[in-house]
Amino acid sequence: MSSENGKRLLETDAGGLNFEATELTLGLPGEPRVTSDGGAKLGSKRGFSETVDLKLGDNNREVKLGHSLQEAAKSPVSKTQVVGWPPVRGFAKRGKKSCKYVKVAVDGAPYLRKVDLEIYNSYQQLLTSLEDMFSCFTIRNYLNEKKIEQVNGIEYMPTYEDKDGDWMLVGDVPWQMFVESCKRLRLMKSSEAVGLGLTTGPKYSSTN
């Protein structure tokens, strides 16, 4: 039995965000496991096949798999969650954060991207991620007054459209409030923002 420690890429359409290192999977003999949204996943530091070969106690016993795990091992890649595990009532409701994907437009870019705001905890993390995503541009990051080396000579201001349809500067309201009210992001060319009187920085720093 080959041991697959079931590491895999989580499918995401946000720019190349990998959850590989943080994945919890149970490596059963056979294909790597993929769970659909909300499915319970089994975590293990070692592939299951390794535990089967262990000498348990004094006797060299075989571990008998419960039916559900056997079924899970047999079934196709898309349907491998074990029903009713972990045993928490309303498992999907408790603790699981909703995804909040918003479109990100950059002036001058031919296509948009999408980011999940729920995976960040602060403005700093968001902006860093946007920088990575649009690495050919420079995003004006005056949250910590650092000027990033300009690559192509154009600076961008991060703005967003809120629930009321207004375009706001990113960073003025608390992070959580921003996540809740943000509908879409736009990286606006700084040159266009000239004249908006933005002399004071936002209230919320990256440490919020």
């Binding site: 319970a40 089994l42 530091k45 348990l56 419960g66 559900s68 029903v83 045993p87």
Partner: protein, 572 residues
């Protein structure tokens, strides 16, 4: 005992309140049975199919408070189909037709229709208290009927129910004359509520002690409610998101400070971390804190909150507290008796969960710990042995390792020794849930040492029938046994069928028991209902006795086969 007139005995029996004790009293002699049954006001029925409403009414004409439980526990984890059973309507119908002056109804895992709620609301003049836990089948229309018709309603407590929310109007159905509310909990409702109606209701309820709001109640309404109800003892906050520089937030801080009686806090269904300091003034008095629905609360802010809660006796939290956070709990909450750590999203980063370290810290710091529900990434035998030594007073010990067959990661051994230490040390253990890699050995320990054990939950464990046999032979007080995905077959099932009559119920799913084995139990024990639940239709076409049974649920009953089972349930 024949020297005393009945009235004296009745007066003495008034002091005996626990169901167990009253049951025992009724068995002493005929005259005690008679006196006890006429004076009994509160009845608990742990399995609604074990008795009929008619017999209940015949025996206890003075009934005022009824507790009923329906579906088996594993229904919570989607192992029982929705329409399996547990319908409350026949009970309410029968009680309504009788002369019973029902005042209180507490239901768990039952199917409750709007029709039943309406009938309930119209049939009992003095109806005071409705508590629904993990129920389903009703909408806010049913709640509207309760609100409108129960003139002396004191308690409406909805916990974790599946309610079809038709939005808002049910709260307005409480008449202006309704001023008797003591407890109102609608945290599980997902829809909007009429905030004005809510405010007015709270204003005219001077006895309101417990208020748990749902997600749709915003912070500024919360502030207004607290201003009107500073006498609250139990508060469930709905939404807790606001701009900390706003006027509403300042008002909230003032309102919270006035609530000097709050001992229990829950909710935070939506939460903004920066608003937590408003809560600090009441933290010092809290005995119960439930943050298990607040994934937004984590890290330093969470720890700071906990540090203010020195009197905590019960803490329900998500595993994003981490081992470090549990360390803070251990240092701060010296009065802690109950800890529940629930799993947050499994797709989170690995450090968002807890391990054996957190549990060991709490066991060392909180010597009064007696009840545990702990979802964790891993557990070691050494940790369990340490916990057993630190906390010999466990009554409930439920451990769920997220990987159900994970061994001790340090030694690669099964967790038999660890759990063995728990059962050996905790002589008062009544409830136990196992997980991780386990062999027959752990069951040997359980059979030997767990003398007070009443409920045992097993999943993905054991090597052979011996495991189940150790438990059935050893645990004399066992009432509920639920097993999934274990290699227990007919030999274990049939060893001592008489035992099942001493228990409330046995659940076995994805095990090795066959149709023939189940039939055998049913034949030998007419006092049991043996139900086979199989939605796959294979039972229809393949009645081979050697067929393995997917799900079997058997329970003792005085009233034979139930008539309301759906197609896919075969009662043997």
């Amino acid at each position: 005992m024949n020297y005393f007139p009945d009235e004296v005995l009745e007066h003495v029996f008034d002091f005996i309140t626990s169901h167990k004790d009253r049951n025992s009293v009724s068995l002493v002699c005929k005259s005690w049975y008679k006196i006890e049954r006429y004076s009994r006001q509160r009845v608990f029925i742990g399995n609604c199919y074990s008795i009929s409403p008619e017999r209940l009414i015949a025996r206890f004409p003075g009934l005022k408070s009824l507790t009923l439980k329906g579906k088996p526990h594993f229904a919570d984890f989607n192992l029982v189909p929705h329409d399996w059973g547990g319908f409350v309507y026949p009970w309410i119908e029968a009680l309504a037709k009788s002369r019973i002056g029902l005042e209180e109804l507490r239901l768990k895992r039952m199917v409750v229709s709007d029709e039943s709620l309406e009938l309930l609301s119209k049939s009992f003049v003095n109806f005071k208290s409705l508590v629904l836990v993990s129920c389903e089948g009703f909408t806010t229309d049913g709640l509207a009927a309760i609100a409108a018709n129960c003139r002396f309603l004191r308690e409406l407590d909805l916990q974790e129910n599946e309610v079809d929310d038709h939005r808002g109007h049910w709260l307005s159905c409480f008449p202006e004359s309704c001023t008797s509310l003591i407890s109102l909990n609608f945290a599980c409702l997902r829809g909007e509520v009429n905030l004005g109606a809510l405010e007015r209701l709270v204003s005219r309820s001077p006895n309101l002690k417990s208020l748990r709001l749902n997600r749709a109640v915003p912070l500024d309404t919360l502030q207004k409610l607290l201003m009107r109800a500073p006498q609250l003892v139990d508060l469930g906050i709905g939404s807790y998101v606001h701009d900390p520089f706003s006027e509403a937030y300042n008002k909230l801080k003032i309102a919270i400070q006035r609530c000097k009686s709050i001992r229990s806090l829950s909710g935070f269904l939506e939460v903004a971390l920066h608003c937590m300091s408003a809560i600090y003034p009441i933290c010092g008095n809290l005995t119960f804190l439930n943050l298990s629905y607040a994934p937004g609360l984590h890290g330093n802010k969470l720890m700071k909150l906990i540090q203010h809660c020195r009197k905590l006796q019960r803490l329900w939290i998500l595993d994003c507290i981490g081992d470090k956070g549990l360390g803070v709990v251990a240092l701060t909450c010296k009065e802690l008796q109950e800890l529940r750590v629930f799993p947050s999203d499994p797709f989170e980063a690995g450090n968002a969960a807890v391990t054996e370290e957190g549990l060991v810290l709490v066991s060392a710091g909180c010597p009064k710990l007696n009840s545990l529900l702990y979802f964790c990434q891993q557990m070691t035998n050494a940790a369990l042995i340490t916990v057993a030594k630190n906390c010999p007073n466990f009554i409930r010990f439920r451990l769920c390792i997220l990987d159900p067959i994970k061994p001790d990661p340090v030694t690669n051994q099964p967790l038999d020794e660890g759990f063995g230490a728990i059962v050996q040390s905790c002589k008062g253990l009544k409830r136990l849930s196992l997980s991780g890699l386990l062999t027959d050995q752990v069951f040997l320990y359980i059979g030997m040492y767990a003398e007070q054990l009443e409920m045992l939950s097993i999943a993905f464990a054991a090597d052979s029938d011996k495991g189940m046999l150790y438990v059935l032979n050893g645990c004399k007080k066992l009432r509920k046994l639920e097993i999934r995905d274990c290699p227990f077959g007919d030999a274990a099932l049939l060893e001592d069928v008489g035992k099942y009559e001493t228990m409330r119920s046995l659940w076995m799913s994805s095990c090795e028991v066959t149709l023939g084995g189940c039939k055998s139990v049913a034949e030998k024990m007419p006092s049991l209902n043996v139900e086979i639940i199989d939605e796959s239709e294979q039972m229809e076409f393949n009645l081979d006795d050697k067929q393995k049974v997917d799900k079997m649920y058997l329970y003792r009953t005085l009233v034979g086969h139930r008539k309301d089972a759906p197609e896919y349930v075969w009662i043997l």
